[in-house]
């Protein structure tokens, strides 16, 4: 019996041990297989990303790796509307005029220019070339602008050319595009007639929509212009050499570019297309990209890493815009006054948003706008604002009586879906509930949907913002003109319109700035908007890269003047 039981135990043992061996073997196979797969995958990944240089700065190849916010839908300058396209275009194209690394206007394709009351003349340089070696001529501009205004092109930014004679009529389809008062007198001289005096035309001419386009090349692309790397002709410091849709872009130095003050790098790789700041922070930490912006919660990390943090104002102003359409509660001035008096933008910025690079906004005009001699806001200080709850409640009561309401219905507060907009929306919701007893419903929408709702007037208050298109107070000043399509709240006041007309066409800078001062005052007194904040960015740059710019007007990130310097500091 004893013996038998021992044998049975040994058989059991040998059974378990052999099973264990088998199991161990399987585990080993599985692990080996896994290693093999990982290796194969990494090789495959390495192959597909052959032009991804690896590393933020590659000194040998004189190349850098950057991120793009999103993939440009297309790179046709005349039709581009998004920030991402603007970034790419600013590196591969050049207009008549461009900006230097200190935001001053400098000659681009035009050597010199003259702006008169009734028109302008640009003299083009001889050595400006397209990337196929042919010269850039005045005809290329004439063709490009006529095409932008052609209703068939349906360019969203066509309105920016309306100061040229007949432009608006052509864009509306009332006149043929040949009637546009832009003439290439010779290959080197471009003559323009104005619809109305436009002293700031030089600033407009630096904008993307004014970039040139060569007719023969455009025709040869058969309507696919700008859709791919070889479907475009470039005249900027870089060219798009490769464009793998949905993944990467490779910009290389343009050998035909005329100036040696721009384009010091041989290659710029846009290896990552992402808007995720956390992903970008990690990429930057790992040394995979040369720059990234930081949001408030990341600042402690940045301080811990001992990075040199930089800041820039991006030029835009964010505000609560009211719906001034008739029949809306927000059409009532006392209602708007109540909301204005019950808030303080500095509390929003300092205690809620906590962004070090933001500035509490006090006016429709941001602090950087130039006045006659000094900064506009120094010459024309913003109306003084003091939070005053007692007066706010008085105004609300007056509004309630005027509107003949027992109680205010819920207010529809349209906002974007970004973290900052949602945070601000929640703050205002509670603020107005606590201070004024108003119920606010937040309608958070993606950008396009928000724009659609703003256009159709489906809101009471909208959290909106405006980024300047050019370096002049008018880019903000004409925002609430009754005819401006971007006036989504449909604010309509004769007084405002009158001042805007002066601002548009007055040549005496003093009188013109006076008009802007009046617009600023009216925007406050009539509570067209409630300014919230002026946006800025905190950002970090790889210390080996110099000359990188984040801009307030033009491309948000600008590598045109960037170069690699490894000497340290």
């Amino acid at each position: 019996m004893n013996e038998a039981s021992t044998t049975s135990i040994t058989t059991d043992d040998s059974f378990t041990s052999s099973a264990g061996k088998q199991l161990g073997l399987y585990t080993l196979y599985a692990l080996l297989g896994l290693v093999a797969i990982i290796y194969m995958l990494s090789v495959a990944a390495g192959n597909t990303g052959s032009n991804v240089s690896g590393g933020a700065v590659n000194v040998e190849r004189n190349s850098i790796t950057i991120t793009l916010r999103e993939e440009p839908p297309q790179l046709d300058a005349g039709r581009a509307t998004d920030a991402s396209s603007f970034v790419v275009l600013a590196h591969v194209m050049e207009g008549l005029i461009s900006y230097d690394d200190n935001d001053q206007l400098i000659p681009g394709v035009a050597e010199r220019w003259e702006i008169r009351e009734d028109g302008a003349t640009f003299w083009l340089r001889d050595d400006a070339m397209w990337s196929d070696g042919q010269p850039v001529t005045a005809h290329d501009f004439e063709f490009a602008w006529k095409r932008v205004l052609d209703p068939a092109t349906a360019a969203e930014y066509s309105f920016i050319m309306y100061s040229i004679k007949n432009a608006e009529a052509i864009n509306q389809g009332d006149l043929p595009k040949e009637m546009l008062a832009v003439t290439a007198t010779t290959d080197r001289i471009l003559d323009i007639e104005f619809e109305r005096p436009t002293p700031y035309f030089d600033k407009l001419a630096a904008f993307n929509t004014y970039f040139p386009l060569r007719e023969d090349f455009f025709e040869s692309t058969n309507g696919r212009y700008g859709s791919d790397a070889d479907m475009m002709l470039y005249n900027g410091p870089y060219v798009v050499a490769e464009w793998v849709h949905g993944s990467t872009m490779l910009w290389t130095k343009n050998p035909y570019y005329w100036s040696d003050e721009k384009g010091f790098l041989d290659e710029i790789v846009t290896a990552y297309i992402t808007q995720d700041v956390n992903a970008k922070l990690n990429l930057f930490k790992d040394g995979q990209i040369v720059d990234t912006h930081l949001v408030a919660p990341m600042l402690p990390t940045a301080m811990e890493q001992r990075w040199q943090i930089d800041r820039v104002m991006d030029g835009s102003v964010f505000f609560l815009e009211f719906n001034h359409r008739e029949g809306r509660i927000s059409d009532n001035l006392n209602f708007r006054k109540a909301l204005q008096l019950a808030q303080d933008s500095s509390e929003l910025v300092y205690k809620v948003l906590k962004e070090a690079s933001y500035l509490p906004a006090e006016s429709l005009f941001p602090v950087w706008i130039q006045g006659v001699e000094d900064v506009f806001r120094k010459e024309y200080p913003a109306p003084e604002h003091q939070m005053n709850l007692a007066r706010a409640r008085e105004h609300l009561e007056m509004a309630r009586q005027e509107l003949d309401l027992g109680e205010f219905p819920p207010i529809i507060f349209l906002s974007g879906d970004t973290p900052v907009s949602l945070l601000a929306a929640e703050y205002y919701q509670q603020l107005y509930k606590q201070n004024l007893g108003l119920e606010i419903r937040i309608d958070a929408q993606i950008f396009k949907q928000r724009l659609a709702k703003m256009t159709s007037g489906d809101f009471d208050i909208v959290l909106a913002g405006w980024s300047p298109d050019y370096f002049d107070a008018l880019t903000f000043g004409d925002l609430f003109a009754s005819w401006n399509l971007n006036n989504r709240g449909r604010y309509n006041s004769e007084e405002m319109d009158r001042h805007i007309r002066i601002a548009q066409s007055e040549l005496d800078p003093r009188k013109r700035m006076d008009a802007f001062g009046e617009i600023q005052r009216l925007a406050y007194d009539d509570v067209v908007i409630i300014p919230m904040y002026e946006r800025g960015w905190s950002f970090v740059v790889d210390p080996r890269l110099k000359g990188f710019k984040r801009r307030s007007v033009g491309p948000e990130t600008d590598y045109n003047y960037a170069y690699i310097d490894v000497s340290g500091n």
Partner: protein, 454 residues
Amino acid sequence: MTDIASSEFAPLQEQKEVHAISRPSLSYWQDAWIRLKSNRRALVSLYIVIGLLLFTLAGPWIWRTDPAFQDLDQVSQPPGTNRGALVVEDYQPWFGDQFLAGEDLRLAEPGTTQAVRLQWDPLDAAGGHRVYRNIFPLGPERAYGIPLAELLDPETDYFEDRLDLKPGRYYYSVVAIGPRGELLDNFETIEVSVQQVTTVIEAVERGLVDDATELQVGDQIDLIWHPLGTDYLGRDLLARLMAGARVSLFIGIGAPFLFVLFGVVYGSMAGFIGGRTDQMMMRFADFVVALPFLLFMILFKIAFGIGPGESGVFPMLVALVVLMWPATARLVRGQILQIREQGYISASQLLGAKTSYLILRHMIPNTLGVVLVTVTFAIPSAIFTEAFLSFIGMGVAPPTPSWGSMSNEGIKTMLTTPHELIFPAMFISLTVLAFNLLGDGLRDALDARMRNTE
């Protein structure tokens, strides 16, 4: 055949009664309860679930803080922060003090959470100044910290910092910049310790005192107590967790209960009737499985006329119930089909059992284990679905919190203020775990086949 004489028979001796092995007769539920009680894990989970229900329903009666109230003095405070604050004068704008005594970078007045006021003498060759703030002392690498402002006018020699000041130590630096905004080499730096302060008006607004006359500048006062700290808008986390539990548990328990109930009825009908009806019913279930949940969620939201900024919790419940039942139905049908062919069913039928008896006595108890497993998995998945939908804006509308939306907000500041994520995440995990363990215990307790196998 052997003859057996009657004399060979003897009357049986009277015997002692044999030791009887018996126990009191127990009903099915009594038996289940006894077995559940002996399962410690399940019992603890049961207490946790009861505790959660109390927390949700009775909590707001005890902790009477408005979950939407924003205490902007205490934004993103972890629990246990010192609440002491000094009462100071109301904030007045400050535009520097040229005659302030002292040299270099200096404070115009002691640093408070209201403002830190810095004054300096213009640095040499400065085309302007940049003011930085750091939470670490300046090291040899000269990383100055967060740039607070760029003062392009070299004559501006003061700065007031009001950005998100917390009690503690800060290191400010003023650096000279060149004409194009580039950093120059000369800088000055100062260490500032910041004290928590409040004002009389704020104290009244926040409900710390009833009457403004009770307080005077210079008094020491305790700010509002937040046992679990506050979130990114200074809202009380405990109050928000209670309010959030209502939504999360409503969806998390309500939806699974309803769709499992429907699934059981549907599945047992299909399984019991069988044949063509079964085929038809199950093909319909397959059809429902194929319907995209998110799309229907949106459709329901529109169909119910839920406008922007209104809570989408009810359509969420409907969408969950309408679309999630087929899994349970399939499972139950399979079980019923299996049980239908069991010997004891045939035996009962032979003994004349009615259909209702068969279903109630044999079929349902035998499927209960499977159903309970489904429920235990459905509850966490429903809680997660709610969290996900709240995140993409289809669920609760702000300011109503739910655990899911709170986690999604907390994750953004996970590294700096982890408590905003940890508490809601802990509640989700705890709830999910408790329901899982309880379900596990219930399955063991209710499984008819595990009866009498102690």
